[in-house]
Symmetry: C2
Subunit: 244 residues, 2 copies
């Protein structure tokens, strides 16, 4: 069923009035009066609507039912990645994380980042568009926020506000990701931190540990920097009963 | 540590002799006598070697230790996908599946495939190269085979030889993927079947069911055809204790 986010939509007295880009989209899709569509408020609520009228100026639809968007996971996972080199990797991380159920996606400057954080404002606009596209396509109830954090300190500041912090690291003494997740199936929020191409420095792992994060392994296979977040996120969804 | 697959290597009397492309690679990496390297037989066994000599003709290395490659999962998962449109998607499925631990990857012509299976021989060569690259990079003990199956019948013929068959489907009556995996944690082999861009036809789901497959859901989020295999594969690795 056609699906829209609510920006530019007014819901009032059982009627939804769309203008602007979304109204244009309804016309492009050639939806006809009587057809059903979903307008999502971007906060996890879906308005099931029936199209009444679509003309050049605006679209009017009758609200038939208001439901909790079924695609929203019960756990809010923040994916926090050392900025990879090359926009194909960042774009990929965003698109796949949104599909796989992330609540928010953040990039930060970690010690081994090769990428230079330039034109961040323009980048963030593009990142947010990729998130919105992926959210629409996968039927999400929110548009996950994509943001940029200056450094590890800022990233850890996000982490400490979550119920569970997981730092994916490739060497040294680590817990198994699956053990940590199995022991924390009831958490409401998780922060997953993954490195850029060269991984993390030892001092970053130490900092993460001091901040209360679990230093975790995902097995002996070495995952690319753009693969690790999706694998860790999927494991988190699985463990918390959100892959069913 | 530098890692090679054994094609073109002879191991005999405690010495490994490399010629051809791999010997070239050792020279490119500027490994010096005394340095350690791993030569993998591509069947799950790693030969830890110490370089003795590298010249234009060949590379000689002393075998120091023979171990089971730690990166190989205990479960053999076949990823079987309806051929997507566009080589970026197939390439992506191959690369990420190898990283995430697939044993083999297969594409087949399903009812809603838009892609035309043309030049399959050349394609399979390229697919296999992508698998080899990803296997080296992620430290795998095998180079997962990538193959092409003509149709659903051929695909189901592969499935029935596995301990557990899982058919990912977007509508109708389905089991939760996590329930099925949780109830089958001890299996030694799994077949995961995912559709092309438009998903599967109902008759394909029926056929899969008749072949003994579990018709499964991965939740309410709609995953792209190139994302679903990685998510299902990661869930399989998690459930069988191979993400630790």
């Amino acid at each position: 069923m056609a699906r829209f986010f609510m920006a530019g939509t007014n819901i009032n007295g059982g009627m939804a009035i769309m203008k602007g880009r979304d109204a244009e989209h309804v016309r492009v899709l050639r939806l006809r009066p009587g057809e059903d569509m979903i307008i999502c408020d971007g906060q996890g609520t879906d308005y099931k609507c029936r199209l009444v009228k679509a003309d050049k100026e605006q679209v009017e639809a009758e609200v038939v039912e208001v439901v909790k968007c079924p695609a929203e996971p019960s756990v809010k996972v923040a994916v926090i990645c050392g900025l990879p080199k090359g926009s194909d990797k960042t774009d990929y991380i965003i698109q796949k994380s949104v599909e796989a159920g992330a609540d928010e996606i953040m990039f930060f400057q970690s010690a081994r980042c090769v990428a230079k954080p330039q034109n961040m404002e323009r980048k963030m606009e593009r990142w947010q568009r990729i998130s919105e596209e992926a959210a629409k396509q996968s039927g999400r109830g929110i548009i996950p926020q994509v943001s940029w954090l200056e450094d590890m300190t800022a990233a850890l500041d996000v982490v400490v506000k979550k119920d569970l912090g997981i730092f994916l690291y490739e060497t040294g003494e680590r817990e198994a990701l699956s053990d940590v997740l199995d022991n924390n199936r009831e958490v409401k929020s998780i922060a997953l931190m993954t490195g850029p191409e060269g991984g993390f420095e030892e001092f970053e792992a130490k900092l993460a540990k001091i901040a209360g994060m679990h230093i975790c392994s995902m097995g002996e296979r070495i995952l690319r920097c753009e693969t690790a977040p999706i694998v860790a996120l999927t494991a988190s969804m699985y463990a918390t009963g959100n892959l069913a």
